[in-house]
């Protein structure tokens, strides 16, 4: 199986294209982490002001409030200004950052019409969304 000229498997062609993709991916990761960190800091300060004086006991596991256990629930609770929900929203943003990265990579392979990697990236994206939205494993 030999690749024709101009095919993405030609190293020179592939590298210049991949470099552009990589630049955009790098930027996305930075923005995602920064946005998540800002939301977590704001929520964290509110949380400490509100609950900081209470005794901490996390020795035994009692599952998190139902509202803070789904993406939709976290967004709804955060909009009411609840400090724990705002922190959780930042954490959800953080978890969503690699997912967005995979989605962006998929877009890049679509532009390149790279069928093999459109398929591969779609599988990864589907698995991530399955975990994040339906929460089953």
């Amino acid at each position: 199986m030999t690749a024709p000229e101009g095919n993405p498997s030609d190293p020179a062609v592939r590298n210049s294209r991949d470099e552009q993709i990589e630049l955009v991916i790098g930027r996305l990761l930075q923005v995602g982490v920064l946005a998540a960190a800002i939301v977590v800091v704001v929520g964290g300060i509110m949380l400490l002001a509100q609950y900081g004086h209470l005794p901490a006991n996390f020795r035994n596991f009692r599952s998190e409030d139902a509202a803070l256990r789904s993406v939709a629930g976290v967004v709804r609770a955060a909009l009411t200004g609840d400090s724990r929900a705002i922190v959780q929203l930042g954490l959800v943003l953080l978890i969503a950052t690699p997912v967005a990265r995979v989605a962006l990579t998929l877009g890049a392979f679509v532009i390149q019409r790279d069928r093999l990697y459109i398929l591969t990236t779609s599988i990864v994206l589907a698995l991530l969304l399955y975990g994040l939205i339906w929460g089953r494993a």
């Binding site: 990761l29 930075q30 998540a36 591969t120 975990g131």
Partner: protein, 278 residues
Amino acid sequence: MSIWLLALFLALGSFGAGLLGALTGLGGGLVVVPMMTLLFHVDLRYAIGASLVSVIATSSGAAAAYVREGYTNVRAGIFLEVATTVGALTGAALAGFIPTSALAVLFGVVLLYSAYRSLSAPEHHPIDLPSDPLAVRLRLNSTYPTAEGVRAYSVQGVKGGFSLMFVAGVLSALLGIGSGVVKVLAMDHTMKLPFKVSTTTSNFMIGVTAAASAGVYLHRGYIEPVLAFPVMLGVLTGALLGARILAGAKTVWLRRVFTAVVAVLALEMLYKGLRGGL
């Protein structure tokens, strides 16, 4: 202890873990769970949730810099992420059925192995052997920058590497770690990628792997904002500072110190696991 004080201690401890993890290349996630469970008596599930979140933060924060330098093999990363995400979802499914004491023992073994790997020198292997035919079909062979200019490398052992990546995914979900050691083992040792390409591509994949199980754990209530926020911010700032001072730092003795810490935590986890005290 009040929530204020716990958050402060967790943030400081996580900062140290992130700093040393970045300076030694072992990753901060490795010691966050033992720190939280052994020192602060936090339930293992909360610790795993907080640790996974911090692993995503450092992986994404650092990957941004590495990706731009041109070491990361994006195709290999995406292809192997199929194995790590399936592994992570499998691990998350298993997590509910494995007793805490067994997880503690497994954690101890992984920590000991990581300590051992961190002290053994990276092996030098040729990077221009005839490629695995599967690597040609998947277009995994690529190039990377060296002091003498851009060099091409070929990839070996695709099936073996893919299988090891599944294991890395399972361990990541079960223990709340990045599994960087196993990922580098798969790429450096089995697939014969250049060492620098292996470590940066591993880092690139860690966030995606951790996000797969973190999503599931969010729904199970393992992610507690009170615990996760100081840990995430501490590890992230520590790792960013570590990456910044890495260029001029003498890491040999740092690596030894951190490895000793990892080994002590490993024995403690094994002891607690076998005694059933965690």
